[in-house]
């Protein structure tokens, strides 16, 4: 996957969690949770969806790597390079 595809993947997952999520003013370097009003329960859904769609097992200690859109790309790029 390219970096842009990974971004789309993450945003698509978030849209599935909250169909009213507003991406227009999203800053890719700021935490997703605060900007999109996601709580820890919603956040778990991102991890679970990545597992369901791409069989990625993300250990709990790696969750902070998914904090911002850009950090998601950095973390997921090597894991999804062959997808």
């Amino acid at each position: 996957m390219t970096n842009d595809e990974i971004k789309d993947l993450v945003l698509d997952i978030i849209e599935g969690i909250d169909d009213e999520a507003d991406f227009a003013s999203l800053d890719p370097d700021q935490p997703l949770r605060e900007q999109l009003d996601l709580d820890s329960m919603d956040f778990l859904d991102i991890v679970m969806e990545l597992r369901k769609r791409h069989q990625l097992q993300i250990p709990e200690q790696d969750y902070p790597n998914l904090a911002t859109l850009n950090s998601c790309v950095t973390y997921l790029a090597p894991l999804l390079k062959d997808v």
């Binding site: 909250d18 009003d37 709580d39 329960m41 919603d42 778990l44 679970m48 597992r51 369901k52």
Partner: protein, 463 residues
Amino acid sequence: MKIPVLVIGGGLSGIAAAIRIARFAPDVQILEQHSRLGGLNSYFYRNQTLFETGLHAITNYAEAGDKKAPLNRLLRQLKLRRREISFCQQLESRVEFYGHETLRFSNQFELLDSEVHSKFPQAYGPFRQLIAFIDEFDPFAPAPFRSAKTYLSELLGNRLLVDMLLCPLMFYGSSYENDMDLSQFAIMFRAIYIEGMFRPKGSIKDFLDLLTSHYKLMGGSIRTKCQVKKILHCKGQVTGVELNSGETIECDHLLSTIGSDETMALLEDAPAKSMKGDTRLGFIETIYELKRDEADSLPTDTTIIFYNKGENFNYSSPDDYIDNKSGVICFPGNFSGLPAKEKKEIRFTHLANYSKWKKLASDPEAYLAKKFATSKESRHLLEPFIGRFNHNIVFENTFTPVTIERYTSKRKGAIYGNPVKIKDGNIGYKNLFIAGTDQGFLGIIGSMLSGVSIVNQHILPKL
């Protein structure tokens, strides 16, 4: 046979938990002992009419935009869309301590606020402090029991106000006599006074049907009339369950929503546990179905009355069959936007003594006669306050703690379960957790969130 995840109990916490699991792992099955789902919130038919059990009102009302509200979090977690449910808000409810004071409240918190302001002017400042405290307080942080009554008495300095504020919160969710844990108090205060009450436009059956079809679409399965005889385990690890039929089902994860003691009772050879907190609060409820009568003077603008007629408010297991000095009067037809029905309904709920009713149940005739007698007593006591309706009754049905125990298997018919809650759902096994009433979140939204949060914490990360 093997099913990776089993959920014991098809009440609302079990269904919510199972939906949550099915979203990511469809190999999940609900085992329900009865022919119908719903547990404490179910229904029955008499005279071709559907009667709901349990449901008076659902707490935790929230508008669509409020993303952090428990109701909206729950819908997101279950992937249910708000538009699939029509929300009918309460009209107005009140706490009525006859001979003392009345506090009206609605889904607009300003009403309760102004009631306290005008009726307890000296306590109003401290009351605002209480609101600020509840706003800041994290009731989900693990903490030892702290008495809400002591906290409130010291802050508000007015016993009547303390009792009046506690009365609805206790009747709608306390398994503890004459006090509440401060965290539980904060959760219930938000749920009832700040967020408010509603009900779906349809019946509880429609709501359960919506949840089950949603669950089945995700691939989950349900077995009704399926009673678990024991939980099979070895060295702190559950391996499966044995059903009453003798059939066994193996599993990797087991979630039990039937109560903590009720779950422990299924664990053969489990290390003996001391029976902590054995006081169970039983309830009795009478449902009256009434002919419509334009001449009756029953309230049309009131949804629920939480009343007390005693000198002091006493929320504890009564010595007699029932304690009708306090209770709840519910008018299930009085919600905004609810279509008018051919008949009216009223419900009376009081605390009741399980042991007395249990003893009487061995003599069915005396048991039935006592049910009628107590219903009549309550009617005589309450008709002067709400209006006469005796002459319009077409059907009445009373259920006692014994009825509740029979249909839900809740120990001693205690709808709010064990007074000791297990907040993290952990009862000492690697792959067995409890959710629902004895985990500590109460009410329909609370119990469903309980199922969801235990699954999130203990099952999903391990699937």
